[in-house]
Symmetry: D3
Subunit: 300 residues, 6 copies
């Protein structure tokens, strides 16, 4: 490299090494941040535990189940404790060491909740088997439906959020969003037998409450209609997303917005823009106005 | 680790090792499941064969083409035979060994169809070069258009499905869905010179029949309008998705639903909700009702 | 392998080794193509430089910042020079060697622009902190918002495009599209404090011009309404996407199409289909026609 | 690449693809050969089982021992069955499939012998603790003495040889030879409490019989003195290496050659050339003749 | 897997999970052991620092030296602190946490000694350039002479030993022994300009003291002649290896044994067995007795 | 990290970044050095070409030989050209670019010599089959005899040396030395049917000339007896190692030193120290003086 190039690079290194305004300053502990790749490993291990022969190298799932589950549980405990601790000190002045015991206890409690998470996920799989004529077995759902990925991430992230773990739940849900196009905020509350088909573009907001046996199709938004602002002009984090009761189906690309309630046993068709509450046992479809203009043979 | 922690983990390992209701029981062969990561490798090899200098480490594509193609074809034969065998016994009581010969024959036949798959994919690439003013060469399309990824997966998965390989085709199509947001069921029938631009959110259902020179934009759904249920309340797998004839273009976020026919040389504009058949040479656009209300300067 | 199998495979290798019509012929230099995986590494390095403790193995970010930044800058210079050179000769008859000096100068100039790219990205992060009630810190935005991924790729790709680097910018933007579902053409011009929430399905076309403090939600298309064709029937690459002025917010699944102008300080609601220009300080929402038909208790 | 280079390379590929005289022809099964890297993995797993916290990633050794041992035993069973089967058909006309059951039974029996192998290895470690004043604990021996590597390979290879597994035992012993410079033929019979210090250059021949509590230093050869030839001029594989009785110590660089017996409780000093049997309780040292000539201040 | 196989494997897992007599019990801290692979990384980093362009991926050595050295020094500090802490608690009842500060201080002091270690190693390289007629440059020595590997390990291990780090130094020296066949105990004291040619089989004992400008050839043992035993029958760790003064050369396969002194400026020929001290300026060669018997044409 | 630690590390980085006396200065090209790991890959590829099913992942060796050989030959050409170019400029002021053509021609010529190298290696394998009663097939020799590793490296390194490639041959031979303990200088000239058994500690000097059908055992040194010094006190690189004629066998730990000739059809026993020429058809064994003193029952 010519000296001139070295000089120009060196100058840029100097400027890029400055701490810019938007950057977090390191606290007194120069805390290590949570690691996205470690969190990916954590979710992969949880999938190994819950769906033992599906996502690991199949040979590794082995024949003697308890050894396999045991190894995964131990590794989960170790990796999860570390990331929870990093989450607990994220953006604070605390040091990782001071929260280590708390993090380990949370990790342990989380592991103790895994059999319930597993039970819920199998209700989701079962629901999909009943809802999609193209599917032949629960194994096919586990292998081929992005919903399994999305719901595993969601149910794990939601549990961690209820145990007050900061930042980690959101990283987990964003990992699923990236892979599946399904964006479920870990704060949402979702019942059993939950289904999403195709799923790309689905958004489920932070304060949603969703009952049992609910089914969504691709592009459904369960969002906020508008924000409430505090005196300082910052939007407030208040309940602002819909409540969906049991046995509701919402077809593709429909938006349900605001703190409204969709009554149980309701069906909402596709491409609907719904901003008002709906009584139980309703059927909502697009009005005629949505019908299209027909111009035989016309140029565009 | 303290003994108390060990005890709690041990208890959970016990509970998580139980076979839950939703889980597939292992058959008498304790068959190894298909491997998603091996299937990813298989598609990568196929891409190396069809687009030799684009997706491999470029140095590996080498100068003497037949060695490179030869190595890839051999490896494909070996990996594909194994995964097809696993697919054939998936969810059955059969053992992998008993289907090995059949799997190898299918793999071989599939490889013999690769030159036709290659021909079709190059028509897709060619069509995109003609349709997008932003594109400069077929090389740019191969590198930068998610459609190439989606259609390679689709054409491979579709071929395997027509050879009655279970589960593997759906895993292949879901891999493309995850990467591109384009969800094409391997059961769909799609002609040559097929184009998708941007593509996120596109859904093409299992019983779609699509002609030649068809172009779709992002968010287009070619879906079912409703399901037909059997006596047992389970939805039936009958033709329920649209037929799209030759030379049809469908713009972004439009849904075409049900077993309807879109006649050839038709254009459907964006955001249309189409549930009835359309004659050839039609132009469909959103009706006025779709126009928006204009409120200068009003607060939301 | 039986001889018969070898023969069938050998025949296919022969046929698949033929250069098909759609394939690019190798130029006299048998030029090596750009490498997608190397370009992924390049963007990862840029993220390490701009968000030092977030996306690398956290331990690697180290304590002595200038060493870390320095190593990354050097590696960036080397990898980027190579890929730019490959881009410059892509589809031409030129040889890589003859553009090496030019490529190195471009890489150097690009690195010299990194502090400006960094500044812009931190304004994007800052804007998101102000716009989403669910967010607590800029660190959370950097970790959990796909917009950061999408905008880093966009701002890098756009810069390279303005320096006339072929093909590489589009590969970079497609990498972000695959991960986030957000598809921003590197040719678009986007101001500071730009926000996208959720983002799946967002499409921003090649000739868009977007001001400062603009916010988009998932599914927004800033697209072309129609194409202008040349005498040869090929669509022309002319300005055909909207101009969005400062302080505009566009809600989910809205399409803004054609070379129209959305005046500053305007809000466009969700699911709107906008094809005409709008004055500043406007509020656009769906007309009543969009309201849905309500059928209590009816079957679908 | 210029055509001329392609031509020259192509010609060489043709010539190098010919089967030369010395090469094994493939049998009718085109059997896959044993894999040196898989065999390395097998020995690594055995070391994990026998010395659980020493040679694996230490974190992996975990807290709940039976899960860790269990996973390793299962993996060992699977990998070892495969390699044994490949060994059984090596150089024969048999097919791997036909020996699969036999190979699995051998692997199982081998695993059932592992606790005895473990017991023996810990006697070797214990002996070294007693013999070397520089050592402080058995842990230090396990970590730092090449003897542990060499003896683990030997005891495993020897067991497999006694179960009539071809080729694999020799590959295992050569792996240790490469790492430690200690070359023990798997056919040798070696008792408990066996020690080798430093070890580089030690050679122990195929028909050696070694008692308990024997200690060797670097460079010791227990070899053949001469060969017995058959009528065809090929050397015969008859007992031709020494018998070393219990409690014998042999110092560095000494050679003990031929089918002689070194009686128990004997010490042989360094640099000795021993070709005759020795009674028990002997002390053998170099004769005076070995003393050196002393030339003060002389040039060489 | 058949149940019978599972049962047999399960039984063996049980037996192999028992703690055998020879195994170290875990202390109350269930301390993680030192990691051989991390220690390998540590030495590799040190080689990067001392011989910057030789052993890393050459491209990584970069153009701007201080960034490269800086990154390596930081990583060294982090990895070394961890391993030293594990060494400090090895075989004790202490917990890693309680020695963390001490370990970091030792790591820091070690790093501060690196420039002296570097200086010494370059004297060794320089000496080899002067001593071997086959060598052309110091670069050739660094690349091709196993002595550089052996001496780097030794000088690092020796320094750590003088700072009372347990176990780690021996692991470091054994790594070099395995690669080079040269076994230098970290307790030995070795001056500058030290050379070993070829080196296989060289052994240098724990209490050796070696001056400057000493040169050894392959197979040289600087060992103990006999052990001194304590009342309990255990050999005592007393000075028992030779003192080699300045400017001594010892040719191949010679053994120098016991606490004797080889005076300065002495040459000892090959295959000598030396157990008595030697005055300065001596020349020692094999006596006549070593001459061989000549039997023309005789059979062996 | 505390500031104090940062300061101490920073100071050391400064000192370690200085170019020390012994270090090579970078030439004007800041040439990249040869890469040991790339050279390891090169030899591995050559082994794949010469022993196709033995050292690669066995599955990769495939069924259609010419594709496999072809891919390896192409990769060899590319990697070898690069390393030869780096070797050619090593320690000079030349730039890699200026020797690229020359390096490619040498690589090509080397590849054209591979069939002769292959022929020679199979004679070595064949000779070992005839010489060792423990061996059953040539396949066993290829798998288990370190000689194959050592001789492949030697014959490759020797060929490159005869084509005047600097430094690379020595790196290749040192790689074999590290793995096998056999140290053959690439300058030595060695005929066909050459055998080494066990091999640890064998040294073959730069100016050795060895005929056909020669067999060596472990620890044999074919070395220099003394050096000839130039006027400047530097040892001269003149013929100084023995000439070994055809059909000679030399047993373990024997040293043959100086420019002497061992006549054809000679056998030299073990532990011999030979410094004078020997007539053909000789048998050399240790004189009686080498016999040991026998002290029944004495303490050491």
């Amino acid at each position: 490299m010519e000296q001139k190039v070295v000089d120009r690079l060196t100058e840029m290194v100097g400027r890029l090494s400055e701490i810019s305004d938007g950057e977090e300053k390191s606290g007194k502990c120069s805390t290590i941040l949570p690691s996205v790749s470690e969190i990916e490993k954590i979710v992969a291990i949880i999938k190994n535990i819950i769906f033992p022969r599906f996502f690991d190298h199949p040979e590794a799932a082995g024949a003697i189940r308890s050894y396999y589950i045991g190894m995964n549980v131990e590794q989960l405990y170790s990796l999860l404790s570390t990331q929870i601790a990093r989450g607990l000190v994220f953006g604070t002045d605390e040091c990782e060491r001071s929260v280590a015991d708390k993090a380990e206890e949370i990790a342990l409690k989380f592991i103790e909740s895994l059999s319930e998470i597993k039970r819920l996920l199998y209700t989701d799989v079962e629901a999909m088997v009943h809802n999609d004529p193209a599917v032949k077995s629960s194994g096919e759902v586990i292998f081929c439906y992005p919903m399994v990925e999305a719901m595993t991430h969601y149910r794990v992230a939601h549990k961690l959020l209820t145990m007050s773990v900061p930042i980690i739940p959101r990283i987990i849900s964003e990992l699923a969003h990236s892979k599946t196009g399904i964006d479920i905020h870990p704060g949402a509350v979702i019942g059993d037998h939950f289904c999403i088909d195709h799923g790309t573009g689905v958004v489920i907001g932070e304060t949603c409450i969703i009952g049992s046996h609910v089914m969504l199709y691709q592009g459904v938004t369960l969002g906020a209609k508008s924000f409430t602002y505090g005196d300082d002009g910052v939007p407030l984090n208040v309940p602002r997303h819909p409540i969906i009761e049991d046995n509701v189906t919402i077809y593709s690309n429909t938006s349900v917005l605001g703190r409204i309630t969709i009554g149980h046993d309701t069906v909402i068709g596709g491409n609907v823009w719904q901003t008002r509450s709906v009584a139980p046992h309703s059927l909502i479809v697009q009005g005629k106005a949505m019908s299209t203009t027909f111009m035989d043979g016309a140029g565009i």
